[in-house]
């Protein structure tokens, strides 16, 4: 019997799919598996695709898959959709636009629900990227949920982040916050046949060019591209720019390459530490007889939840007097 990690590294679809599910469901067993597959990660090129809802991200991803496949590259896709805050359920519909690739063995597509996580991704996205990386996918496309304009968490995990905007959709350039501008390695104006595409491009150019000093020192100047993903127009150029950016990252400057990687590792480790601390502390508190007793006392009216909470938390954190 092969271990899960071995199966994943061998590219076993079922094992990959199930491991991502376990990561998504927060199963504690996954830690060992992730440790085991870690040495096999770091080879994939990760692309983040973000932008407002209706910007055509899924269609764009669908077209990007086609172009990357033509180059002979294998592709993994993580498509994030929002979880309903009312029911906790979700309809994950991004896949519909990519479903034509479902029979292609070089493509693996996985839909994920945010499950209350903010930032445009899911808690499990980082882990899922590692799994697709370890299974040997050359490119991993991460499509964020795109609810607002703050969702640029994907930047931390991606080598290249693409910001998709649409002319005249109310998400005018003025509305794009500075953080987003900094996050974008490539700006893509989708549905560029619509009125206002030129103006959107001009406005973007103006804002990006503000920092001339940076570019003089050799920083990457984000290109602004126009596309109509539905008609497969401008997507080849986009893929070309992604390669350019990749070369810039990996060939032209070693510092930048390391810097990017270092940022990613630091962020990742911070996140992991944060999550782990929460998990351990919460388990330490909630999985005790004391906790159950506290619940009973609140129900019976012997105490109130505020007092009970204090009595449970403060000693556990070593803060009680």
């Amino acid at each position: 019997m092969k271990s899960t990690a071995e199966k994943v590294v061998a590219g076993d679809i079922r094992a990959v799919a199930r491991l991502i599910r376990d990561i998504d469901d927060g199963m504690p067993e996954i830690r060992e598996v992730l440790k085991e597959i870690y040495p096999y990660t770091g080879k994939a090129y990760v692309i983040g695709i973000t932008g407002a809802p209706g910007a055509g991200k899924s269609t764009l991803v669908d077209r990007m898959i086609t172009h990357l496949r033509k180059e002979g590259k294998t592709v993994g896709v993580l498509a994030v959709d929002p979880t309903s805050p009312f029911s906790g359920g979700a309809i994950l519909g991004d896949r519909i636009r990519m479903q034509r690739h479902s029979m292609d063995e070089g493509v693996f597509i996985r839909s994920l629900a945010t499950r209350g996580h903010f930032g445009g991704l899911t808690q499990s996205t980082r882990g899922a990227i590692d799994v697709l990386d370890a299974m040997g996918k050359d490119f991993i496309l991460v499509e964020t949920v795109g609810v607002g304009q703050d969702e640029v968490e994907v930047v931390k995990s991606a080598h290249t982040t693409i910001i998709v905007v649409v002319p005249g959709m109310g998400d005018d350039v003025q509305a794009i916050k500075a953080g987003i501008l900094e996050a974008g390695d490539i700006f893509l104006i989708n549905k560029a046949d619509r009125e206002g595409a030129e103006k959107t491009a001009g406005d973007l150019r103006l804002m990006i060019d503000m920092d001339q000093e940076k570019y003089r020192k050799g920083a990457w100047r984000p290109p602004i591209l126009k596309a109509q993903a539905v008609a497969d127009k401008g997507v080849a150029e986009l893929v070309e720019e992604i390669h350019n950016h990749g070369r810039y990252l990996f060939e032209t400057s070693d510092d930048i390459k390391l810097g990017k990687k270092r940022v990613r590792v630091r962020e990742e480790l911070t996140d992991m530490v944060e999550k782990r601390i929460l998990e351990e502390v919460i388990n330490n508190i909630t999985k005790t007889a004391e906790f159950d007793r506290a619940v009973d006392s609140i129900v019976s009216g012997d105490t109130d939840p505020y007092t009970a909470c204090e009595e449970l938390v403060l000693p556990a954190l070593g803060l009680s007097e």
Partner: protein
Amino acid sequence: MAQKRKVRIMVAKPGLDGHDRGARIIARAYRDAGFEVIYTGLHQTPEEIVEAAIQEDVDMIGLSSLAGAHKYLFPRVLEILREKGAEDIVVCGGGIFPEEDIAALKKAGIKEIFTPGSSLDEIVKWVEDNIKPR
């Protein structure tokens, strides 16, 4: 953090017919019941449905059909699931079928068939009672 496992369901429309009113309503009802639903859209072949179901690691596939091709398409989905070693994924069907067809489909391994007589609550309840996320 250990959270409860979520039920994941694929709602799929095999074949060429475009009657997706039922499939879309069911997808919403499942969402409103707290499940994660992957909807494949229209005009899917059985092969495409199974491949997607495996990649998405769903617990159940709900097939919807309204143009008479269910007799070929539904069993074909089961057949491919077996070929791929994924027969643990439960398959249900929805649509309007003659009694004899329902019996035959169940015999072929379709776990349950829902017809317009089944209320959304019943359809959701069936999942809650019968589908245990792994």
